[in-house]
């Protein structure tokens, strides 16, 4: 399965909308174990994506992902800006010379996040959503339940990367905010693909 321009474009726009609608929820999650700005950060990014896409009106998926990456990199700051930005920048480069399988695409994004964050699974970061989703895609269709399961798995983890890691054991018992925004990304991907992808 490969994402064509229209689908991919819908996906990114739906994601931006979802983030804007859930700004406070993301802030609340980040207040518990971070510094309370993940919603504000992502909302700034979402608005920048919408503005950039309507201005540039990209004509291929590579440019679409690049515009998305640049909007995140230039407007978000914090930890999430470079992480989402790197994921989409790497995805943009990967599809430049021809569209690729969705499962490969998401793995490339995941690897970008791992490289940028010098992190891996089980550190209570957004990687704990990206990697499982990538795995699911490799073995078949993606449904929202998969996303929910990945997200929920972060609750019991102890953070060893990012701001929550300063809390050590006390970081347990809370959903990771970056995983929540990533869950929105993959929920909206399912919306675009349809539950029967």
């Amino acid at each position: 399965m490969r994402l064509e321009l229209e689908e991919a474009s819908n996906w990114i726009k739906l994601f931006a909308k979802k983030v804007e609608a859930n700004k406070s929820e993301l802030n609340e999650l980040d207040t518990a174990i971070g510094d309370g700005d993940h919603g504000t950060n992502m909302d700034r990014g979402a608005k920048a994506i919408v503005e950039s896409l309507s201005k540039n009106d990209p004509t291929n998926v590579s440019d679409l992902y690049k515009d998305t990456a640049f909007a995140m990199i230039q407007k978000v700051g914090g930890a999430s800006g470079p992480l989402y930005g790197t994921a989409f920048l790497d995805m943009s480069k990967a599809v430049k010379n021809g569209n690729i399988e969705l499962s490969d695409l998401i793995q490339i994004g995941t690897d970008g996040i791992k490289r940028r964050g010098e992190a891996d699974v089980n550190m209570k970061t957004m990687i704990d959503v990206w990697q499982p989703i990538s795995d699911v895609l490799k073995s078949g269709k993606l449904i929202k339940k998969d996303v929910k399961e990945a997200l929920d798995s972060t609750e019991d983890m102890v953070a060893t990367k990012g701001r929550a890691s300063y809390l050590e054991e006390k970081s347990k018992g809370h959903i990771d905010p970056g995983s929540q925004s990533s869950a929105y990304l993959f929920d909206t991907l399912v919306d675009v693909l349809g539950e029967n992808n």
Binding site: D35, I73, Q74, G77, R163
Partner: protein
């Protein structure tokens, strides 16, 4: 929340605009960014390694207040408590590069580290030589080996001062990076809060303390610390923090530097009383303090509290700390 602000989204641009307007001989804004760069005559006339720092806003005078002859060449301001973006950092690098390379001074937060890294990659693509040092002076987080590592807090300003002095004297980029790392290794900080900061976009204090409680080991972004206790006399607080910090230094001989830093909402009166207790206790412990400084340097919005930084100095660091500079905040 009661603050003297306009729209929450306009805080950083307006703050930078106020800084630049009231210090136009000293700094100017880099167009299209919330970064500032030196604007003095000497800067345009002298070649040296560029020193760029930056981070989230809310720590004023850090970093823009330390831009000037003998300290930073440029400073990049992100949103409140949020790392600036790579493109802004990249602009600042370009504004200070004079062919001798640029040193980035970054506080150890994943956001800052990643954004500065990306800016570094962008600048390196332009063949600008970049080195990065990451300040992690906060000793309050234990077991930091397994995590993000220690945070960068008030000690940052001492690093900026020493590295800035060395850069002014003509030191090379590689040597500056080496010097900076040595300073960081010898700089230890711990802080306490009497009252948490109120992030403007959040609207209420980051955590609650009772009328007689203080929190030990807080970060500069409302990160909670390692314990909540009843408030104690300044003298007791000084003794406790000193004991905790001195454990970090195996060799207690040599010359030391001390920074007593106000968190933003604590008046100078209390900072000087605390400084008096700190210096008395260090004197009793035969620690040879050759440099000390008191004031609001690395703040956390309106947080009430203080931090204590102790540095074991080498070579001529003490002289470099004492060298006069022309900045807003030093």
């Amino acid at each position: 929340m009661k603050k003297i602000i306009n729209n929450v989204e306009d805080i950083v641009p307006e703050l930078i605009s106020g800084l630049v307007k009231t210090n136009s001989g000293l700094i100017k804004q880099i167009e299209g960014t919330t970064a500032v760069v030196r604007n003095d005559k000497k800067f345009s006339e002298t070649k040296q390694v560029g020193i760029v720092s930056g981070g989230g806003s809310g720590h004023e005078p850090l970093h823009a207040g330390f831009v000037g002859d003998g300290m930073l060449s440029a400073a990049v301001a992100g949103e409140v408590f949020t790392s600036p973006t790579p493109d802004q950092i990249y602009e600042a690098i370009n504004a200070v590069n004079k062919g001798m390379g640029v040193l980035l001074i970054v506080k150890n937060y994943s956001g800052d580290v990643m954004n500065f890294d990306m800016a570094k990659e962008m600048a390196e693509a332009d063949d600008i030589k970049i080195r990065t040092i990451v300040v992690d002076d906060d000793i309050s987080v234990e077991n930091s080996e397994f995590t993000q590592g220690k945070r960068g807090v008030a000690g940052t300003v001492l690093v900026e001062k020493i590295v800035g002095a060395a850069a002014r004297s003509g030191m090379s980029l590689d040597d500056l990076a080496k010097l900076g790392q040595a300073v960081i290794n010898n700089t230890k900080t711990i802080g306490i809060a009497l009252h948490a900061a109120t992030v403007p976009a959040v609207g209420h204090p980051g955590f609650e303390l009772k009328d007689d409680e203080i929190e030990y080991g807080i970060g500069i972004h409302n990160e909670r610390g390692y314990s909540v206790e009843k408030i104690k006399p300044s003298q007791v607080l000084a003794d406790e923090l000193i004991e905790k910090i001195l454990k970090e230094f195996i060799d207690k001989s040599g010359k030391f530097a001390v920074l007593i830093n106000g968190m933003g909402g604590t008046p100078l009166m209390e900072q000087y009383i605390f400084a008096n207790d700190v210096l008395n206790e260090l004197n009793d412990k035969n620690i040879d303090v050759q440099f000390s400084k008191v004031g609001n340097m690395v703040t956390s919005l309106d947080m009430q509290g203080i931090s204590l930084t102790i540095m074991k100095t080498e070579d001529n660091w003490i002289d470099m700390l004492k060298e006069p500079v022309v900045t807003i905040g030093w």
